[in-house]
Every structure is written in C-alpha cells, then in structure tokens.
C-alpha cells in the first residue's frame, strides 16, 4: 500500500544535504522527507550519518551543500537557536542536561522571552513554574525539582532532557536514541510518552537502534546507509526490504 501524496504533509525535508569531516563524508547528498504529525524513525547502521544529519538540520553544524526546509521554510545553515524557534526541539545521543543547575532551572532554560523586560524579569514566573511542574510530573520526576541535575540517575536525566525539550513547546521533536542505555521499564514509559504527545499533535523524528521500539512506535521509517537514504516506508515494508537487510547485515 502506498500513501497518497495529498494525504501526507511534509514536516522536515532535505535535498542533497552533504557534510564531510576531512576525507569522511558523513552525510552524502541526503534527500529525505519526514511526515508531519507522524512518528518518523530514522534508522541505519552505526556510522551511517544519522546524528550528523540531525546536527546539520538543527544548526549545530553547517552542511557543506544541500538544503533543509521545515514546513516549507528554509532552515539551511541557520543557527540552532533560530531552528529551535521555528518549532523544532531535539534531544542528544548522549543525554545532555545542565549538570550544575537544579531540575527546575533546567526546565526554565527553554522558556522563551522576547522582550528585554521579560528577559530581566525573575526566571521563577509562577505560570512557567506551574507549566514546568506539570511537564516534570508528566515524565514522572516532579519530586526531584530541587535536586541538581548531576545527582539524577541516567534514566532520570533522560526524562529531564525530554521534559526540558517539551518546555520550549516545539511542534516537532527530534530524539537521538531515546532508548539508549535505558532500562526496559523506562523504555516503555518513553514510548508511551511519545505516543501520547503524538496523539496531541506533535511530530517526532526518532533515531533509534532498538528495532522493537522503532517498529512498534513509528508510522514512517527512513533508512540511512553511508550518509544517504536507501529506503523509506511504513515499518512493515521497510523491515522486509532487501536493501535494508544488506545495509545491516552486509549480505
């Protein structure tokens, strides 16, 4: 079954995106379209350029060539805070929180303040505090509000990172290995969160190695090998595609 073009709205899309580090071309002319309102997965063997692709489209590094658009807006080479303002939030492969700030302070970093007056206002705005507490409760770590982030367990830090990304209220959330280094119970919790948030209208683009999770969670899967897309489609189709098996198993 093929999805009709009219039914699918593009979310993040790239054309010929390329990034080399010295002699290694990590992303090699990647032309990809992710679907709006869906849970998209980006999979591929180690070193296939998934994280570099993430970094290129979120402005962490500048691509050498190609374009990236988000909902029709050109975001190629934009600084990462500008990409964030277009409505894209992201997590990092090795979970990144602000270690010497409390859990609540971690949450408040993402609060957007446009005017100078708001910038200089107290960070502890009651409304934002409530919103932060709500999100912390949602991921299940609201009891740790006053702890320093470095004192949290790895799993708790992952949840904090996700809550922190949600605090910016992005329309699209890019997760880099949300299940990496996390125990099975927590993987379920994260998967449920992704499903619920998706039902509320958030688009997800998830890099993940846990195939059970990818297959159960995603609506649309993009497979990368050697820095470019080799195949895309619903999980059931991708799973049986010979090119995917070849990329993963080398046969």
């Amino acid at each position: 079954m093929t999805v009709t073009a009219a039914a699918v709205q593009p979310n993040l899309a790239t054309v010929g995106l390329t990034k080399s580090f010295g002699g290694v071309t990590a992303v090699d002319g990647a032309t990809v379209t992710f679907q709006h309102g869906k849970v998209n997965a980006l999979i591929g063997p180690n070193g296939s350029g998934k994280t570099t692709f993430f970094n290129c489209v979120t402005g962490m590094i500048k691509p050498d060539a190609g374009t990236a658009t988000y909902r029709g807006r050109d975001i190629t080479g934009k600084a990462s805070h500008r990409v964030a303002r277009t409505g894209i939030g992201r997590s990092f492969q090795l979970c990144r929180v602000f270690p010497r700030m409390t859990v609540m302070e971690n949450m408040l970093v993402a609060v957007r303040s446009t005017s100078l007056r708001r910038q200089l206002a107290s960070a502890r705005d009651p409304q934002e505090l409530d919103r932060a507490r709500g999100l912390l409760a949602r991921v299940g770590i609201d009891h740790l509000e006053h702890s320093e982030a470095r004192d949290l367990s790895y799993g708790q830090q992952k949840l904090l990172e996700l809550a922190g990304v949600l605090m910016a209220d992005p329309e699209t959330i890019m997760l880099d290995e949300p299940a990496g280094g996390v125990n099975p119970a927590l993987i379920d919790r994260i998967a449920n969160l992704v499903r619920d948030l998706n039902a509320e209208g958030k688009t997800f683009i998830v890099v993940e190695h846990n195939m059970d999770l990818v297959m159960s969670l995603s609506d649309h899967v993009v497979v990368f090998d050697r820095g470019r897309q080799i195949c895309e489609g619903p999980p059931s189709v991708v799973q049986n595609d010979p090119r995917v098996l070849e990329a993963y198993l080398g046969i």
Binding site: T58, G59, M60, A79, S80, H81, A84, R85, G89, R90, F92, R96, V97, F98, P99, R100, M101, E105, L108, V109, A110, V111, R112, S113, R118, Q119, L120, A121, S122, A123, R124, A137, G140, D142, H143, L144, H146, S147, E148, D151, G164, V165, M167, A168, D196, A199, E200
Partner: protein, 352 residues
Amino acid sequence: MRSASKALGLLAAVAFVVAFPRMAPDAFILSVGVVIMSYAVLATSWNFVGGFTGYISLGHAAYSGLGAYATGLLVIETGMNPWLAMLAGGLLVAAFAVPVGIASLRVRGASFVIVSIALVLILLLVFQSWGSFTGGSNGLRVPRPFGTDVLRPEQHERFFYLHAVLLAVALLTWWLIDRSRFGTGLKAIREDEDKAQSLGVPTFQYKLVAFVVSAFFTALGGGMYALWFGFLDPIFQFSILVGSYMVLMSLLGGIRSLFGPVLGAVIVGYAVEYFKAQYGDTQFHLVAMGLLLALVVLFMPDGIIPAASSLLNRFRPQAASIREVTAAELAEQRRSAADAEEREPVTEGARR
C-alpha cells in the same frame, strides 16, 4: 531559617564595612582596606563573565586599565567632573568591549583565554609607546577629586566608602541577573553552550551582553582606583597579574556565588598586602599567590563558599538533603508520585 541567617550575615558584613574605617588603627591599614575593596569590585565585575558564562578571561586588566586611563585623561584633557569622567570612562570602555567581545567570544576554552591575554599585552605596548597622550612609562598623574584640605586618611576613608557603594551596585546587578531569565540562559551557557542554544537561547548575544556589562563595571573599578591612587603606570595597569588576581579571587571564593569574589578579594588582597609588607624586597608574594591558586584548584575547585556550605550541611543532618525537604516529606512525595503513576491511564485520558 536559612534566609534569616543569610540576612543576618549580610547585615553583619554591612556593619563591618561601615565600621571598618573607624576600627582601622592607622592610615596604612585603611589604605589596605581600600585596596581590598577595589579588588572586590574588580573580581565581582569579572564574575559577570566568569561566573555566569564560564568564560575565563585572564585579561580583564584591559578593562580596568582602560577605565583608569579614560577617567584620568578625561579629567586632564577636558577638565570634566571626575565622577562624570569615571562614568563616561566606563561607558567608553563598554563600547570598546562590544567589538572585542564579538571577536573573542567566538572561541571557547583556551583560545578565549589567549585572546584575552593578547589584548592586555597590546594595550600595554600602546600605552607605553604613546607617551605624548598617555604619559608612557613615566606614568600619568591623575588630579585628586577632593581638595588639598582633605588629608590622606580622610581620602582613604571617603574612597573606602565610595568603593563600597560601587561594590554594592555591582553585587545588586549580579544578583538581579542571577535570578532573571537572562541569568538562567547565561548559566545554561556555562553548563553546556550547544545544548542551551538548541533550546532556543541566543547564546552569542547573551554572552556579549554579559561581557559588556562585565567590562563596564571593571572599568568603573579601574576609574575609581585611578581617582584614589592618583597615578597610573601602564606596566601596572595592563598587567596579566591584575587580571590573574581577579580570576584567583573569584575561583577562591566561588564563581557561582554572589559573594564568592568578595570573599576571595578579602583573602587574596590581605595576603598580597601582608606578603608585600613582610617580604617587600622579594617577589615572594607572587610565589605565595601561585601556591594559593594551586591549592584552590586541587582541593576546592568550586571555591570556599560552596565547600564551606557543604561542610556545614554535613554537620546539620536534618538539612543535609540537597533536596531542601525532609526525608519524611520526600517519602510522602514519592508515595503520591507512585499513586499518580497508578492513576496515570485515567489522568492521561482526562488530559486529552
């Protein structure tokens, strides 16, 4: 209770500052007090960049030196009111810091440190060579703001209080930034700059503003020093040592704490003056400062204030939890969290 003891401590510190000139046995000790106050202003000013963003500038003497010369030259060349000259000097230096910040804040870590040192050395050469304007190596005599009828000890006393007011303004500004959204963004930059930016913090603009504010207060500190000391020599104004003292003081006291740099300034300032008085003919005070820096880095990398408060917490078992709640409260919170988790399907449904 915690905030009450904080307020009490602050009150005691203010009382001590107010009373110090009366308690000082002679004019020399009083002048040491002024020097320490001046250091406290400079270190607190440095901490707008160092403490908030984690960018360690070893070259902040550039801004204190420029502030000092700008104040002195404005008074001499234009006959401007000295206090107005000090303020104008601060603003000029702040304007100068904008392009410097734009250039130097692009690089992080060691590169930033080196750029900051390079600027001081360039300024040293410029101010030494441009003798016709700056007085060069012969130095620049800055007219005193008070008349000749105000005697030396009284000068010291007035400048002690003037420095204290400047310090209070700098501390208040630091505190206001610390609790603001802007401050939260700056601290996030200190922790993980790329992550902060990915959350939408315009990191470069934030760093630049902190840098310019820091340069402004550092220049005011330099300007006030110029008016007090009355004589400027490039070799002392644009010295790596002065910049290093600001870093040492802040690290010693604790760069994450409001009063860390002040505490560091009191300890380092006193130690420097003590060693200079005792072993003035030698360079022993430099060795002593080097040892002090090594000890801080090895044993108290976070500084005295965090180290002391964690030590205090160890003796206060009830308040020992970093969570600022008692064990019973925590257990209760966990219980309700667990309950909430059990109810999750219902609440999730309600939310949708």
